[in-house]
């Protein structure tokens, strides 16, 4: 079983629409939405949830006012300024380090585990899917990404599937790092804009940093072919396989509005033709 993770650096380049299209084209695969912070793949996959689990991770300090003698040790030690002058913990600022809990001489601080999201195992018309929802304003997205990828792999292995298609998060920080480890390859979806190029270079550097082989496709290529070619040239220089161009095609948005993949919406659209070519290249590259 091989996992391919689709990332982009910049948000909104079309990762999820392209993953959805791949879901229509690939056989014997499981799906995983690792963009737990703003998960959208389920809006097209329409999953039927079979299992639902709480995601517990991290802790938050709570001061028991009856026991607190206001000695101030916790306030002195807290590096997040999360404890107010009247000894109430600001749960948003609290990092969950437990230093106040450990050093409180009155044992006046509780340090319970947080429930900061949910994760799901589902069936979809394209195969099994692992997905998750991180609570709003929560931390530990990297841990949830690692967990959901693990669950995705289990699903694929249990059902003897060849492939796990993982929709990754934007950026290059904690959730993206968590989405790379152990992947067979990443596909970077870029766009031909100065931002797309800048962000693609950083995420390509990240993939190289973790020794994950990368491939590239440029979405909305015709918006600025010069910029698109510059991105491809950069990729080739870094030994990143350039596997195709997707034209700007409003059919992607129209398909999304109907909750369909572009392959289901209009198999003859330019966008769909381009994604088919890319999928072929990708499957060859992965030897699946």
């Amino acid at each position: 079983m091989k996992e391919i993770v689709i990332i982009s650096g910049k948000g909104g380049t079309g990762k999820t629409s392209i993953v959805a299209a791949f879901a229509s084209l690939a056989e014997n695969k499981a799906l995983c939405d690792a963009d737990v912070d703003a998960a959208d793949l389920h809006l097209i996959m329409d999953p039927e949830i079979k299992e639902r689990h709480d995601f517990e991770s991290g802790r938050t300090a709570i001061i028991n006012q009856d026991k607190c003698t206001e000695c101030g040790i916790c306030r002195d030690l807290c590096r997040w300024d999360a404890i107010s002058a009247d000894f109430v913990v600001d749960s948003i600022e609290c990092e969950g380090c437990g230093v106040c809990y450990y050093f409180c001489p009155e044992e006046a601080i509780d340090f319970p585990l947080n429930t900061c999201g949910e994760w799901y195992l589902s069936d979809t018309r394209f195969g099994p899917m692992a997905h998750a929802r991180l609570g709003i304003a929560e931390e530990n997205s990297g841990k949830l990404v690692s967990l959901i990828r693990q669950e995705g792999k289990k699903l694929a292995e249990e059902k003897n599937l060849d492939l796990l298609l993982t929709d990754g998060p934007p950026g290059i920080g904690c959730p993206v790092i968590a989405s790379l480890g152990g992947a067979a390859s990443v596909l970077i979806v870029s766009e031909p804009t100065v931002s797309g190029r800048h962000d693609m270079e950083r995420v390509a550097e990240l993939a190289a940093f973790f020794n994950i082989p990368a491939m590239l496709c440029v979405n909305k290529f015709d918006l600025n072919p010069e910029q698109g070619k510059a991105i491809e040239a950069f990729a080739r220089e870094k030994n990143i396989g350039v596997i195709g161009r997707v034209p700007f095609d409003p059919a992607f948005t129209k398909a999304m509005v109907q909750g369909k993949t572009i392959v289901e919406f209009d198999g003859r659209s330019e966008g769909c033709e381009a994604v088919k070519t890319i999928w072929k290249e990708l499957a060859q590259g992965l030897e699946i």
Binding site: I136, A137, T193, V257
Partner: protein, 278 residues
């Protein structure tokens, strides 16, 4: 006043709105680009950078001469960033959250702190616009401490425009907290709406007034507008899809400079924010 520009979904046009708003105002304004994982505002503002500063976060350094392998550092650490194995102490510096617990708890005073590089902060200006952004080091996982450092450059005498990262978790909260107004940029699609709902949820938790910019407002459906009405979130600006705008953006140019008719609209946007936020 601090206006934070956020979105939930990525690629909806946060940077476009932040930079064009700043350039329309022209002076007495600063941009803090807090999307430190993928900062893009500088590509459009093209500021002259005057100062570059490396930002570090404290991480433990163990003096093995003093360490008696008691293991208390590993017990207090919630992040599995330091552990005693056999005859040695292994710090996993990339996991360290810099709480200082291990140093504090060590009975032998064997732990001191050194720095792990988070990234850099670059500061400069373009004409009357002050510019600050953070750039996370590639390979570094934690962006909120760098975002907080960028925000320390808030100039209270002028308007601050924050370009926030996508999503709704800790980096976004670090970029919105303490703002006087959150401007949410969305697109009228199922993905845009879904992520907008999460972003509005985050704004509500922080109790900050907010308004909406709908970008590519004619590509998609009317569900975002319906939601805005239901939730009483004012729609302050709509930007229809225009291939010229997309191309201007792709080249790193400013809409208000290539298509000057937009300047008035961005100024109007600012005035409607002023009315709500003050």
């Amino acid at each position: 006043m601090i206006i934070s520009i956020a979105s939930g979904k990525g690629g909806t046009g946060k940077t476009t709105v932040a930079t064009n708003l700043a350039v329309s105002l022209g002076s007495d304004v600063q941009i803090l680009d807090c999307d430190v994982e993928e900062p893009n505002s500088h590509l459009f503002i093209q500021p002259t950078i005057e100062e570059v500063e490396t930002i570090t976060t404290p991480v433990p350094e163990v003096d093995m001469e003093k360490c008696n392998l008691c293991g208390k550092c590993g017990e207090i650490c919630q992040f599995k960033a330091i552990v005693v194995i056999g005859e040695t102490v292994l710090p996993f510096l990339e996991l360290c959250h810099s709480c200082g617990g291990c140093m504090e708890v060590c009975p032998e005073k064997a732990i001191t702190e050194t720095g792990r590089e988070l990234g850099v902060i670059e500061r400069g200006h373009r004409n009357g616009i002050e510019f600050v952004h953070g750039k996370l080091r590639v390979g570094e996982a934690m962006s909120p401490p760098l975002i907080k450092k960028v925000r320390e450059y808030t100039n209270p005498d002028i308007l601050t425009i924050i370009d926030a990262p996508p999503g709704t978790s800790c980096p976004v909260i670090a970029s919105m907290r303490g703002a006087d107004f959150v401007l949410l940029v969305t697109e009228p699609t199922p993905f845009g709406l879904h992520d907008l709902k999460l972003a509005v949820g985050a704004v509500k938790i922080l109790e900050i007034p907010c308004g909406l910019v709908i970008n590519r407002s004619d590509m998609g459906d009317d569900q975002v507008k319906k939601y805005a009405k239901e939730e009483d979130v004012p729609v302050l600006m709509e930007i229809p899809f225009d291939r010229r705008i997309a191309e201007v953006y792709s080249r790193g140019e400013m809409i208000v400079e290539v298509m000057p008719e937009w300047k008035e609209r961005f100024l109007e946007l600012y005035h409607s924010i002023e009315k709500i936020a003050v």
